[in-house]
């Protein structure tokens, strides 16, 4: 029986680059992806700081005649999927039966494009709404269009657990492979939240960092002066395979997904359960699922969005699970911002790079650690340490807790 999944492909579109090496260098060196909105961006004057990914012309991933109303989240997902499959050297139909490939690509969907069409509807009435709206914005369309683009005909779905959706997509992929329902799963998440309505929704909920004249200092996970998250946009897609299938086709394996756990706070729609008990239970389930103990984890990439309540609850959860065996911990969101559901995939890719390079990225902007948070922080610079096992946490509005465990490919 398959107990683990081989990661053979990685595709990223992030505020700090599109190649895994580039992204990993940025988080290790503290090269920030945070900035004031560019002159011509719709967020100019709306928010002080955000994390912008590179522009991608829609007609580079979708035929021009279909591309006009396709939301940026779907465009980014398709670019990441294209890069991940190229990295895996996998061509559906040539290397694998199309019915033995699954897709789990998630995200909240094309809210920006939906909001734009809602404005047109109120101005122009019925005639203002494009017939192309639904295939351009539905939350399943990143997965469906990935299947269309690459001829994938097996199971497809998208996970709707907000900022936990990326991590959960990886977990779902592992479950599909373990169940023998596919040989390959293309899994990931894409989020494009950088438009005024959604930014104001976060801002009015008092979730955004503010008052930092230097935008690169605004995201401060676990720091005493942290005062909110910085929104970012990103897509991340991984190609996971049954290890035997990957071996048989001679694929190069970046790392293994060893296990995962998911729980729910059942507490509040947005505030995390303050004692972190459900998040802790999720981490423990992930450890058991991977056949590991807390002492086996060499690095923990925290969710750490830099909100007051979120960081405090996660720290309690980590402390309760790991105690004296706590591994080095960091949140890479000080550099990337919070890329919502895509964070779980981008951070899994960072974890994979940490396993490969024996280098653990620090928490950027952690100048003055919150004294009420008792973690084994990596600060100031990357920590050289051979790592065999990495845990990556993702938590979402709604109280969704997901922990994914990655292992060195040679383990």
């Amino acid at each position: 029986m398959t107990t683990r999944a081989a990661v053979t492909g990685i595709g990223l579109v992030t505020p700090v680059g599109t190649a895994v090496g580039e992204v990993f260098d940025a988080v290790c060196a503290g090269r920030s992806g945070l900035s004031a909105p560019p002159e011509d961006h719709v967020l100019r004057g709306v928010v002080d700081v955000a994390a912008f990914a590179p522009p991608i012309a829609a007609d580079t991933v979708i035929p021009a005649k279909e591309a006009r109303f396709v939301d940026r989240s779907i465009v980014m997902a398709l670019r990441a999927a294209e890069d991940a499959l190229a990295d895996a050297g996998l061509e559906v139909g040539r290397d694998v039966d199309p019915y033995r490939v699954a897709v789990v690509v998630s995200g909240v969907g094309g809210l920006d494009t939906l909001a734009d069409q809602a404005v047109r509807r109120s101005r122009q009435g019925r005639l203002g709404v494009s017939p192309f709206l639904l295939p351009g914005v539905l939350p399943n369309m990143a997965a469906a269009r990935t299947a269309i683009k690459f001829g994938i005909r097996g199971y497809t779905s998208s996970v709707g657990t907000a900022c936990a959706a990326g991590g959960q997509s990886i977990g779902e992929a592992l479950r599909i492979l373990r169940a023998g329902e596919a040989d390959v799963v293309v899994c990931g998440c894409s989020e494009a939240p950088l438009f005024p309505t959604l930014v104001d929704a976060f801002g009015n909920a008092l979730a955004l960092a503010k008052g930092w004249p230097d935008p690169t200092t605004a995201s401060r996970p676990f720091d005493r002066r942290r005062n909110g998250l910085v929104l970012g946009e990103a897509a991340g897609v991984l190609v996971l395979e049954r290890p035997g299938f990957a071996r048989a086709r001679g694929a190069s394996v970046h790392a293994d997904v060893l296990g995962w756990g998911a729980t729910t706070d059942a507490y509040h729609p947005t505030t995390p359960r303050p004692d972190g008990s459900s998040a802790a239970a999720g981490m423990e389930i992930a450890l058991r699922d991977a056949g590991l103990t807390a002492a086996d984890v060499d690095y923990l990439n925290a969710h750490g969005t830099a909100t007051k309540a979120g960081d405090a609850a996660e720290a309690k959860a980590i402390t309760s699970v790991f105690g004296a065996a706590m591994p080095p911990v960091s949140s890479t969101k000080g550099v990337t911002g919070h890329m919502l559901g895509a964070s779980g995939v981008v951070e899994a890719a960072i974890g994979i790079a940490a396993l490969r390079h024996g280098l653990l990225p620090p928490t950027h902007n952690l100048d003055d650690p919150d004294p009420s948070i008792d973690l084994n922080h990596i600060r100031d610079k990357a920590l050289a340490a051979p790592a065999r096992t990495v845990m990556s946490n993702s938590f979402g509005f709604g109280g969704h807790n997901v922990s994914v465990i990655l292992g060195h490919a040679d383990a």
Partner: protein
Amino acid sequence: MTAEIRDFLLESLTEMKYPTDEIDEDTVLGPAGADLESLALAELALRVEDRYGVRFEADEADAFAGLTVGEFCAVVAQRITASAAT
């Protein structure tokens, strides 16, 4: 009238990112010619409705696929005339 509709059609197709270089009176709008698929035909119907104040049902828009450019312009002109008469 049909000449104006034809210009409007070509303008619409360009905005919809369809190439118009090889389109003439006898080009079929659907897959056999200009290659408009179902949602594109719906958008074309919507544009005509917006421009000329006429109304098409869903099955009428689907049926555009089988019309040539010339036939399409004639159908729209006829609809405009009928609409003006009521």
